[in-house]
Point group: C2
């Protein structure tokens, strides 16, 4: 099964990387951009198993390894079904 | 309008960051993961304008700044409508 995890900084957290990208966009003449936030997308190929087990497993992976839950939030999709958190 | 750009390495390109994440997953006991690929997600807030102009503008941003088209591929969504490339 394919799992996509999307990780981004919480709205309240400043994003210097996004600010830098926006600066470069302005330099290149893209004046229609109001804000830029940069996040991560992690694609996993996971062995087939019941959906609730996968959901639990992904939650653990995010909490223990992939996401800094102090400053980041995440959501994930399993086989293109959106599962928000 | 909200635009989300998803950038990832082409399938044929090795992903050392993904390999490292998979190694850590194995160490933590997540043995059900077969592969990991790490990509980027860039969220833009763009001034409202006709959709085809935005599509053109995003294409230019990706080609000139955000994406290394030699090794990376991208797709994007405008207000949650998927537009593949």
């Amino acid at each position: 099964m394919k799992v996509k995890i999307f990780i981004k900084l919480k709205e309240s957290v400043l994003d210097p990387q996004g600010k830098a990208v926006m600066g470069s966009m302005r330099t290149l003449g893209f004046d229609n951009v109001r804000s830029v936030r940069v996040g991560k997308m992690i694609e996993l190929e996971v062995e087939d198993s019941p959906r609730d087990e996968i959901v639990k497993s992904i939650g653990e992976m995010c909490g223990k390894l992939l996401v800094n839950t102090v400053i980041e939030q995440y959501r994930f999709e399993i086989d293109d079904t959106v599962l928000s958190r």
